[in-house]
Symmetry: C2
């Protein structure tokens, strides 16, 4: 079953592209005037190779300063490459070469990890069934070695991961996460949080692993801030339940900075179920992804 609205038209072919980036110097994924964005860099590189404008659709629209180690996008390219006098015999797309040249053009803080033709009905945004994020905190005022600083946020107080796990577990499941989302008109804030776990890595940093069908604007950084409020014993575990139930942002929680946040993985259903997932996602989230 081919769903027309989901697939490229005019013989265009859809690419699935897996990307990693250091978000430090970007105003986020989404293109905007006057600020450098990851999308602008990637579309410029794609367009240069395809010799025509190529747009992209992203699975997880990361905010300014947020990183990705497993972002997924799609892009539709023309049926055949345009005639290129440097490669006069090239009649078909040569994807390994396309991939190599993209990384040659892109700055070193953006890397294309994989690039291939996408299966039918593949849609990076509406087809994704889950997004996975990781948040990294150096607590107790420890000094972060400069070579590890890019994806770590610092906190001055010591944090208790057991308390944080207790609090985080209260938020699992389907809820209206309005209390943890920056308001956007016409956007639902009902989400299903399937993972929110804290552990310490080999460097002693606190790591949060989170997964949901999708996250609202600023949601991970709000969830992390609320868990920290409990982890530093400022509020008891029950406080986080009350905040969730209140469905309104509270002024005495924290929003953690983007530098500690990385989009690590996007899940897609098996190829045969891509269309079903899209229909479900579009019905559920309406205008918003």
């Amino acid at each position: 079953m081919t769903i027309p609205a989901l697939n490229p038209e005019g013989g265009y072919r859809r690419l699935r592209i897996d990307i990693a980036y250091d978000g430090t110097r970007y105003a986020g994924w989404a293109i905007q005037p006057d600020f450098p964005t990851v999308q602008a860099e990637v579309e410029a590189a794609l367009s240069r190779i395809a010799r025509t404008h190529i747009g992209t659709v992203v699975a997880g629209r990361t905010d300014a300063g947020v990183h990705a180690s497993g972002q997924v996008i799609h892009a539709d390219i023309p049926p055949k490459p345009k005639f290129n006098r440097y490669h006069p015999l090239q009649r078909e797309w040569d994807l390994p070469n396309f991939h190599y040249r993209l990384n040659q053009i892109l700055p070193e803080d953006i890397r294309i990890l994989k690039l291939d033709f996408a299966p039918e009905n593949f849609h990076a945004r509406f087809g994704a069934s889950a997004r996975h994020y990781q948040y990294r905190i150096a607590d107790n005022n420890v000094i972060v070695p400069p070579l590890k600083r890019l994806n770590v946020a610092t906190w001055y107080r010591p944090l208790d991961p057991d308390l944080m796990n207790e609090a985080s577990a209260q938020l699992l499941g389907e809820h209206d996460f309005a209390a943890f989302c920056k308001f956007r008109r016409a956007a639902t804030t009902i989400r299903t949080l399937t993972q929110f776990e804290w552990s310490r890595d080999e460097d002693g940093y606190l790591i949060a692993d989170l997964a949901a069908d999708a996250f609202c604007y600023n949601m991970v950084r709000n969830l992390v801030g609320a868990a920290v409020c409990v982890g530093e014993s400022r509020f008891p575990v029950e406080w986080i339940v009350k905040v969730l139930a209140g469905k309104a942002r509270v002024s005495d929680s924290y929003v953690f900075p983007p530098r500690g946040l990385t989009l690590t993985r996007v899940d897609f259903p098996p190829t045969g179920q891509l269309a079903t997932q899209v229909v479900r996602a579009m019905a559920r989230r309406g205008e918003e992804g």
Copy 2:
């Protein structure tokens, strides 16, 4: 036994300062006009807190773009802090505060790890008995994730760590390393290489661990390049022995880029033997460290 030439005068007190830095945007440790250097940043921060010019002496003078995770320096500060109207009661140096303020002033790619008064006869350059470096290579054209890119050099061919270990072992011991050093007038190139070992880390990157009493200018990056020549099977293991014996730089070896190189540790003898080490180092290396 206090050696006058080694110790600060006029009641000045010597600090031992352990530092880490991401060397990417610096023209090396050593101060120079017109380019940003780590030494310039550190001396500016020290001088601002001490309210008088403070110079520094470094254990390992890293080149442009080279990193440090365990650099050691010393700096001599006046016997007492200058009167400061914001802290009118401060009569003695408060080192934890000094340390904290340094990191507040310094850019985030330079961090002070430790700061304390140094023992008698401590000299960061002449007292150091060994320098340890690590070099990191992503071989076989693998794509380096942007968040790990700062301290990894890439190489397009696959490398065989067993061959590289065989070659590197040939260089251990005391030799004239002129073949691996950039020429500098009046500088000896006789060094004792005590470690030069290759392994793969959990990311699959090739790691070289090196240690010597001291390294000449560009020496680690030349050693790594020569080992790579063997590791990619361009030359046999015996080739590296001939290069060493030739005592002259060869044009068909590689010099690897600074980004893969990190000064990881500096060793000092036990406090009671500091003076002996200094006398030995000064006799050995003459003008040069």
